[in-house]
């Protein structure tokens, strides 16, 4: 009898500690946690975070009618605080009538060409970034939640392969720095875990807002690989994988990074 009670007791203790270990198991870190205190405060203060200037601009563009259809984003989507909440947390996604995933910038350009009958905005265009950051800002503090969509599996798989593929003259893969050596230092700077938690980001080095694509190109140049063309599907595949990898982390858009 006592033996049985003891066994049950031990089982309970084990179950409790296992559960505790599972809760504590998430040791993933956003780049935010690896920044200095000054930069964290800059990001947290909405009147000191330069990214908020672009959120403000994005809000103005949201309500501005453009294109041959003379429609604004608000004409279809209404208030972004309602209609765009959570959107950035689940992108990239496959738009209706297509079989390829697009990122948020791609989705905005689709709306421009199909609904507004306007020209596509070029990559890293200020207005495109402002609209993207305005939309993504509506998901701030929400957890990254990539949707279950079997059509995305192949693209996520491709992204995972790119992430682990050695490339460039330095013969490095993303994983070598951001999985195997994350938290260590490279030229005095902490190597982050590469979770896309705050894109588009305001990077002080750029003195501007920039997309995840720009950041990825930065890394590719860093390992002396040839960067893919700006419209290459590799970026979206990689973003799909990174978002999957960062599932559950909170969005910070607009993030500030050194």
């Amino acid at each position: 009898m006592t033996g049985r009670l003891l066994a049950i007791g031990l089982a309970l203790v084990f179950a409790a500690s296992y559960a505790a270990a599972q809760v504590g198991a998430d040791k993933r870190r956003s780049g935010y946690q690896d920044m200095g205190e000054a930069l964290q405060k800059m990001q947290d203060d909405d009147t000191a975070n330069p990214g908020m200037l672009f959120v403000q601009l994005g809000g103005q563009l949201w309500n501005r009618a453009v294109g041959a259809a003379d429609k604004s984003c608000a004409d279809c989507h209404g208030a972004a605080a309602v209609s765009m909440k959570g959107v950035a947390a689940r992108y990239p996604a496959i738009p209706g009538g297509s079989d390829r995933p697009v990122d948020l910038e791609g989705r905005i350009n689709l709306c421009r060409t199909e609904q507004q009958k306007a020209d596509r905005l070029p990559p890293e265009n200020r207005d495109l970034l402002a609209l993207t950051v305005y939309v993504a800002h509506q998901s701030r503090d929400l957890q990254i939640a990539p949707p279950y969509d079997p059509r995305l599996d192949a693209f996520r798989q491709e992204g995972a392969e790119i992430y682990r593929r050695r490339q460039g003259q330095l013969n490095l893969s993303c994983a070598i720095c951001h999985d195997d050596n994350a938290g260590k230092k490279l030229a005095g700077i902490v190597i982050p875990e590469a979770h896309p938690t705050g894109y588009p980001i305001y990077r002080l080095e750029w003195q501007a807002l920039g997309s995840l694509k720009r950041r990825l190109r930065n890394c590719l140049v860093g390992i002396r690989a040839e960067a893919w063309p700006l419209d290459a599907p590799e970026y979206v595949a990689l973003e799909l994988y990174l978002m999957q990898r960062a599932r559950g982390l909170k969005l910070e858009t607009p993030a500030v990074r050194p």
Partner: protein, 106 residues
């Protein structure tokens, strides 16, 4: 139209020293960088920032090409009387931006 973010208290005690923080969107192009075509991109900076409280100047600064894009300015002022603080940025290519902030002094 300029994009500006200002952080200033709406109310202040008489005689208190308050901090006013202002951020403005501006490229602050130095005039030393070559563009993609190899030609120097002409200088385009904010040259001067001023702040007045009910018309009287309380803060002013000259800016230089070495100041980063989207400059952030923070300064202190003594709250003497209720009124309007006018922040004004002027610069190259006829750049003028203004932001008014009302502060009630009790």
């Amino acid at each position: 139209m300029s994009n500006i973010l200002v952080n200033a208290p709406k109310t202040a005690r008489r005689g208190a020293v308050i901090e006013i923080k202002a951020l403005i969107m501006h490229p602050m192009e130095t005039g030393f960088r070559p563009g993609p075509n190899g030609r120097i991109i002409p200088r385009n900076i904010i040259e001067r920032f001023t702040a007045t409280w009910n018309g009287a100047e309380i803060f002013a600064m000259d800016m230089s090409p070495a100041i980063a894009a989207n400059p952030f300015v923070s300064f202190f002022a003594e709250a003497k009387e209720s009124g309007t603080v006018v922040l004004r940025w002027t610069g190259d290519e006829g750049f003028v931006a203004e932001q008014r902030v009302d502060i009630a002094v009790e």
